[in-house]
Symmetry: C3
């Protein structure tokens, strides 16, 4: 929530006109030691357990008349080994740094904001914010991270994760007494002139005092070359209420697609709580995942508990514990390397440092 | 033409000596929606239509006695999807950010400037500046961008586009009453000790009030392993005259090489005009391309029209229209994805935002 | 030794709290012309001959009570062609920029400093500092750069050069009357739960007035899948004494591993001298390398001479000469492209500019 601001003096090449502007260099360096106990044990240094490690550049220019131009360039990296690769689909080990987290240019005014480029979808922004583990680390909700609307074979051009979409035109409304709407259209950019691989989504957010609600709607247009024989539709819902002494959160997400093997429906839900304890925050969540394919059903439960101890507004040390249990012989998810125990379970801990700059 | 300047205080490790210096962080974020009408229609979000999207770092140090040291590190990226790849030969989809637009270190004084590294050639700088569309977007002149002196199989080490060359020693003269000369030698860096793949070029510029002229000369030394059986030679000429109410521009480029199939000669020419209209600039150009191979001749015509509306000195919205027509059944060029119509033509529009920082 | 410091004002998102912080953007742009005389002659523009070309971001935050948080993100690049690849194992031509030189987050206090991530090992830091050519360029000591403890097949996850290790937990002690200790543990991160590929190392440094000493100890845990049938052990020792008019330096390094072909032992030693002459520094070194495999022994000698002329504290021009001679028909090392002469020798010169920012 804090930003390093570099004050810049913008100089005309002629030396004549002079205006004030700002470019912000910002980022996160987060690494910790992770231990996993499953079929085999695994230990190592992992990056981005509390906040994703990232480096970004962004700026805003006041154009007058209430109009502003802005840009954001943000990429992830693995702090444990320096790789630029950052978890988007198609990333290779050792790959260079790039602006895969966000690359946008936009114009903002009283009408809201219009942006072009790659970023988190409005649907994701509306409801993933209720994951108390911030979509990172062992105990993150896998509703968005692993499962969900996008299959790997679809929309290579427009969608490279199920959280971020490339080639988008985005509209974000101003705040209407607590309500805010975001709309995304991601071009499929197919060469045969149809709408294959295009993405359409919307997010609705309501924030008023202690109450926060979010709704996300998504459709990914599937082409004939995909493993899917229908469009992929998804919706998600979430909310939180801050009682002061503690905050309660909950979320739900479902997606549906027809595959050659039959209808595939993925559902997931979580309830979570955070409570300030001392200089830090206790976080706990319970997730339930379901994956139904042509009548069959696979299920998994996940429990997470963590504490974030703030050394300052920018720097924290954290500890996280997660337990995952796949039911009935399924292997829907793992927490990481090392594999599941025979009973389908795996548990792990992470201890580390998170520094925002 | 504007730069974001970060004032830096250079501190000796000992804390003793202190001097003033500057490093500049700069760049462009440009994206728009492109629609192409050809054999198939194509639409999408594209990066760098008015100005190439880029991020750079550069600095200058005053060494005293009129001598200055400088460096430039500049890379391109695709704002539509965050890729670091930026159109140089050999770039792969998803490739990381790198300083392929320019990476140089130099010393400048009353003698001019000597630089080492990769950058635009002097020949390109001298004459490509008369393309009113700035060598980017649908309506750019393809004299430099697609056609020209460098074939893909040659000089992988030293030349990775036909605009920029690696491994160069560059000299740029001071201004002599409007005249300026640039010289480039790019090492071929072959292991067998000969001069294969080396690049030699020169650019002459004359700028005096409303009149501007440029001449470029280039030779690429071809080795036995290339598809070429001779060196590749090229020269280009261009000029402009600013009448105030409008500016007229024209350019010509020709290259020649012997291939196994016979002599290959590429020629191209354009005439163009820009005129300030309201807060923006109207730009129009007509290009003619010719490719002669062993007696046969392929031709194409291209027409471009655009308007750049300046919201500030750094931010613009733009619209560009281009029409390309290959003659006599040839398919010399396309404007982009979707393919040519049966009559060899394709047209397209781009609307977008360009923000320099 | 100098740093460009960007003063940053850290603003709370609420606009309320405000604290001072700093992020430093720094780097080196170094390129020169290299000529090699061996079996074939080779010439070209090369990057990082006096100081490795690099770009980095680093910052420190004062957490109060003597505690500080810090991060370093630093990557190398090839200034001659703009590539992000920088000599680490597995780097590909044209690869993007990434933080392979260093990516760490740490906490420092009166207890010393604990860091997580990838960086130079403490053993390397303790003794490689006596190489008068700074481990770069033609005349660098190859004790660390090419030979040494790490074979290419081992520890792909944790060790990607023999100087830097990924996935490390690092401890650096405070200064005890001139003594300083560094400890590294690099996780192997194997999925089968054993300690294969893990790295353990220590460095001891003593610096007191004109006298400087260093000791490095390393063990790389080899797994069954490696070409090695034992762990790899190495130790190194070095020192220098500054007589004012000149500084004398010396170093030794040895590593041992059992291969299928028998015991492999690599030894190397150097003596060196630097002396301030005019505004610059003369540097000279003599290296002797030995590689014993199952009784057989290959040897090489290397002589280097250089001058670094300082135009300022940040900018230098340099010239370096190196002569390498492999003995008794061996081909332990080369200076670069072009191959060895029939007598096993190669020589070369480098002239260039080095600019730190």
């Amino acid at each position: 929530m804090k930003k390093s601001l570099i004050a810049l003096a913008v100089l005309a090449a002629s030396g004549a006109a002079m205006a004030q502007s700002s470019v912000t260099l910002y980022g996160v360096a987060d690494a910790g030691v992770t231990y996993l106990n499953g079929n085999d044990n695994w230990s190592g240094v992992t990056s981005g357990n509390n906040l994703t490690s990232r480096l970004g550049f962004r700026g805003t220019e006041d154009l007058g008349g209430g109009l502003k131009a802005n840009f954001v360039l943000e990429g992830g990296f693995n702090l444990d080994n320096g790789d630029g690769a950052s978890g988007y689909a198609g990333a290779k080990a050792g790959e260079g740094f790039q602006f895969k987290r966000r690359s946008t240019v936009g114009l903002a005014g009283s009408f809201g904001e219009v942006r072009l480029g790659r970023e988190l979808t409005a649907a994701y922004n509306a409801t993933a914010r209720y994951d108390v583990f911030g979509s990172v680390g062992l105990a993150q909700s896998r509703l968005w991270a692993d499962g969900g609307v996008v299959d790997a074979n679809a929309n290579a051009a427009a969608v490279t994760t199920n959280q971020r979409v490339s080639n988008m035109v985005t509209y974000v409304s101003p705040d209407f007494t607590g309500f805010k709407v975001g709309l995304n259209y991601g071009f499929g950019e197919t060469t045969n002139g149809n709408s294959d691989s295009s993405y359409l989504g919307a997010g609705l957010m309501y924030d008023n005092g202690p109450l926060s609600l979010g709704l996300g709607l998504e459709r990914l247009n599937e082409g004939a070359n995909s493993v899917a024989t229908s469009d992929i539709d998804a919706w998600s819902l979430g909310g939180s209420y801050d009682f002061g002494v503690a905050k309660l959160l909950a979320g739900y997400r479902t997606s549906k697609v027809d595959l050659a093997a039959g209808e595939n429906k993925r559902n997931g839900a979580y309830v979570a709580v955070t409570a300030p304890v001392g200089p830090g925050l206790v976080r706990a969540s319970y997730n339930r995942y379901e994956n139904k394919l042509n009548g069959g059903k696979a299920k998994a439960d996940q429990f997470g508990l963590g504490y974030v101890y703030s050394l300052s507004k920018r720097t924290s040390v954290y500890g996280t514990y997660a337990y995952l249990k796949n039911k009935d012989g399924a292997s829907l998810y793992t927490l990481g390397s090392g594999g599941l125990k025979n009973n389908g379970s795996q548990q792990g801990v992470q201890v580390g440092v998170s520094h925002a700059f």
